[in-house]
């Protein structure tokens, strides 16, 4: 039997949940890449590489960090802004990092403005509109993140990552668990560390994202 791997799509309409295909969540101190459990350090390196390779590397902060529920949430927001600023500093000409909020989960029917927000019920609209080829969810409640990651995998070629505060996400192509301010800052350090060592995939990214 071929082992299922969580890879950039478009997989097909209604892709299976990765968990149902045998993908397991990482233990503390680990992450996963394409469904394979790896040491967390390896996940940092790969996440930084993916950001630096992408034409439109994007952070999607969710309600858990966009709204200042408590001091911890506000600090995470600061760390996310730092990560975004680091990305902007480290990318090469032609790459366009973005920071697009997911303010809440209302299935905004019949339309959202994909230029300024992403909605978990039709995330593909924002991905397609902005030609996003690599993204990271941070501060999105797990059930909405899973739904959204699955839709993205089903209908787009975007590489998805999750900085999850709980146990991680099988439906992302790369996932951290137990997200904290320190982990977000560490990822920013990795991006800085790999600056200039990764060749951006500018031409292929465009065609991948518009699939």
């Amino acid at each position: 039997m071929i082992q299922y791997r969580v890879l950039p799509g478009p997989e097909h309409f209604l892709p299976p949940s990765a968990a149902s295909m045998g993908i397991c969540l990482p233990n503390p101190g680990e992450g996963h890449i394409n469904g394979v459990i790896v040491p967390e350090e390896k996940a940092y390196e790969e996440a930084a590489k993916q950001f630096l390779m992408a034409k439109v590397p994007t952070l999607f902060p969710g309600p858990l960090v966009l709204w200042a529920w408590n001091e911890k949430a506000a600090k995470k927001a600061t760390a996310i802004r730092h990560l975004y600023n680091t990305l902007k500093e480290c990318v090469q000409p032609g790459q366009t990092p973005m920071l697009i909020p997911m303010p809440d989960y209302r299935p905004k029917y019949p339309k959202i403005n994909p230029e300024v927000e992403i909605n978990p019920n039709h995330p593909n609209l924002t991905i397609w509109h902005n030609k996003i080829d690599c993204c990271m969810f941070i501060g999105v409640h797990c059930h909405q993140a899973n739904l959204s990651l699955k839709i993205i995998r089903g209908g787009t070629a975007c590489y998805t990552m999750a900085m999850c505060a709980q146990a991680g996400h099988e439906d992302a192509m790369l996932s951290f668990r137990d997200a904290s301010v320190e982990k977000i800052m560490k990822l920013a350090e990795w991006v800085k560390k790999l600056k200039g060592t990764v060749q951006p995939q500018l031409t292929s990214a465009k065609s991948r994202a518009s699939n």
Binding site: P61, V65, L66, W67, A68, A73, A74, K76, A77, T78, I80, R81, L99, I100, P101, P103, R106, P107, K108, Y109, P110, N113, V116, E117
Partner: protein, 301 residues
């Protein structure tokens, strides 16, 4: 909870869509005397909607959302129909139920909220169309009233299934011919306000939404009575202008015509004795507060 709890993280404030920024800056969460007069002066809890141009239901939505006494701690339960197209755009917690299940869901929700938040006032308001309330969900509607569940049921009565093209509903008037009911209704409009009264509702009103101040009054009364005493029911006429062959600008006139004393939506109200007492106490308190404010102003001057 009030607006104090709703804050955007400073470092991500600039990327938040403007409607969220406006909600935090100028919505009326936590405002004690909020009402329909805030419309136009503050951010409304309904950003936009996908109802037809001139739909009276959209007016009703705006007045109701402006009048809820405690929107930050209110959960609305909706059901299938035109209303379900609006709820995603509403900045009040809401649940979409299966068609007709709304009062059953609200019953469980209200009980769960009182267990989870024992010290806080949490209001539950059901808002559904006449199909969900009177036809498909009549069982759940009545059982909730029999059990004296403490929440408000609002029925947007447009006298047919408008969302699916005009089928006959229990609240359709006798003899009415709709697009998908060509024979015409053979029996009378179900008298749900009377049924509500007999089923244990403590506050029942039937009216149109042509007068915002009236809508504000009945919404506030219904929510406060439901909170303290027991079930309340409001039947609001929100005609479907498309299905009755009217133009966008004619919805308001249609409601005015239908609320005349001899017409089927003449104002109808029933208040139980305990509810009357509560309303009298509330009025006395409001009076006292007003007098105290007046005195304070006089002292200041």
């Amino acid at each position: 909870m009030s607006k104090e709890r709703i804050k955007i993280s400073e470092d991500l404030y600039d990327i938040m869509p403007s409607d969220y920024q406006d909600l935090v800056k100028s919505a009326t969460y936590g405002k004690e005397d909020r009402g329909w007069k805030d419309i136009g002066n503050s951010k409304e809890l309904i950003e936009q909607h996908s109802l037809c141009a001139g739909c009276p239901e959209s007016m009703a939505f705006r007045y109701i959302l402006a009048s809820l006494p405690n929107p930050e701690d209110t959960v609305m339960v909706g059901s299938t129909g035109c209303t379900s197209l609006v709820f995603p755009m509403v900045a009040v917690h809401n649940i979409h139920s299966l068609f007709g299940n709304q009062n059953a869901i609200a019953s469980g929700l209200k009980r769960a909220l009182s267990v989870r938040f024992p010290g806080r006032t949490k209001d539950v308001v059901v808002l559904a169309g006449d199909g969900a309330t009177v036809d498909i969900g009549l069982d759940m509607t009545l059982q909730a009233w029999f059990r004296q569940e403490k929440f408000t049921t609002i029925c947007f009565d447009n006298e047919l299934y408008a969302n699916t093209g005009g089928q006959e509903s229990g609240l359709m008037q006798k003899g009415f011919v709709a697009k998908m009911a060509p024979v015409g209704k053979l029996f009378d409009k179900v008298r749900l306000p009377e049924i509500a009264r007999e089923s244990g509702c403590h506050y029942v009103v039937q009216c149109t939404v042509s007068k915002p101040s009236l809508v504000e009054k009945v919404i506030k009364n219904a929510v406060m009575i439901a909170r303290e005493i027991g079930p309340t029911y409001l039947q609001l006429y929100t005609p479907c202008i498309l299905e009755i062959g009217k133009n966008s600008m004619e919805g308001l006139q249609e409601m005015r015509d239908s609320e005349k004393p001899t017409e089927r939506f003449a104002y109808k109200e029933y208040i139980s004795e305990p509810a009357k007492q509560l309303l009298a106490e509330m009025a006395a308190k409001a009076q006292e507060k007003k007098a105290a404010a007046k005195q304070l102003a006089a002292q200041g001057a």
